[in-house]
């Protein structure tokens, strides 16, 4: 029972601090070229990066806080331009 409570607490803690970040990426038309985006976020231990080529949208959920400036730097290094960044 204690274990369950502990795990539930940990899960709730994670949920409380995790945020879902979405941002648009102009020019993202080639999936192979866009692999660089996933690679850069993986280096920050953010691995659940979802890339939607139709909407030109990148989304991830993580408890690691990455600033808007850092996101723009990552996307610039990948060769693209960031549009709106939203956090939930």
């Amino acid at each position: 029972m204690k274990t369950i409570v502990l795990m539930l607490s940990l899960w709730l803690s994670f949920s409380a601090f995790a945020e879902t970040v979405s941002f648009g990426v102009k020019g993202m038309v080639c999936s192979m070229c866009a692999q660089g985006i996933k690679k850069k976020f993986s280096a920050l231990e953010i691995t659940n990066v979802n890339v939607d080529l139709d909407k030109k949208l990148v989304t991830y959920t993580s408890d690691k806080i990455v600033s808007d400036d850092k996101i723009k730097e990552i996307i610039k290094d990948a060769g693209y331009v960031v549009t709106d960044i939203t956090r939930k």
Binding site: K26, G27, M28, V29, C30, S31, M32, C33, A34, Q35, G36, I37, K39, K40, N50, V51, D52, L53, D54, K56, K76, D77, A78, G79, Y80, V81
Partner: protein
Amino acid sequence: MKWLVLLFLPLVAWAHPVIYKDGWVISSMTMPDMTDAGASYSFSPKWAAGVNYWRLQDKAGDEQEYQLAKLNHLLWRHNGEASQANVYLHSGVGRSEWGDIKDRLAVMGGAESDWETRRHFISAKYLHLRTSDYDTGIYVGRVGISPILADFQDLQAWAMVQAWYDPITSREAKITPLLRFFYHNVLWEMGSSLKGDMMLNLMVHL
């Protein structure tokens, strides 16, 4: 055996000469009268340095070999809402050998431009090659269409046509219909020219 070795050497095929920062490109292009092999490292989103090995079989049937150190530059990029356009510059210097002379200075320079959407692709490339024996150009153009718009993690497929002309290997342009596939960070292409010459390309982004 030589074909197998060349196929899996790191060759530089015709795709973006500069990729994301800290990205490596290992790729290959193999045709009966030409092999292009190399590796490059993008130390910024605008610059990449690498090495290439070229094997050309000239019109007389003699084989020429080149080893070049290359520097590629992304001169201009337009990131549109649903498209991307690029202009790249190529440069290289190294040695070449064929016949009795083993160490000719070889210098290469050129430009490349492409435009692509998720469904359409067009590119043009010009490389100028200069040695003590040659002062000539290589011209490559491509158009392609992707019949199915696959998701990011799925297999992508393209149908393309490549036109290639270089006066070293041939007196006339080679037209090669080909299929391009990529899955995650691996790209491969297979084609056959209208004269039946096979073309096999492989590229990996690391």
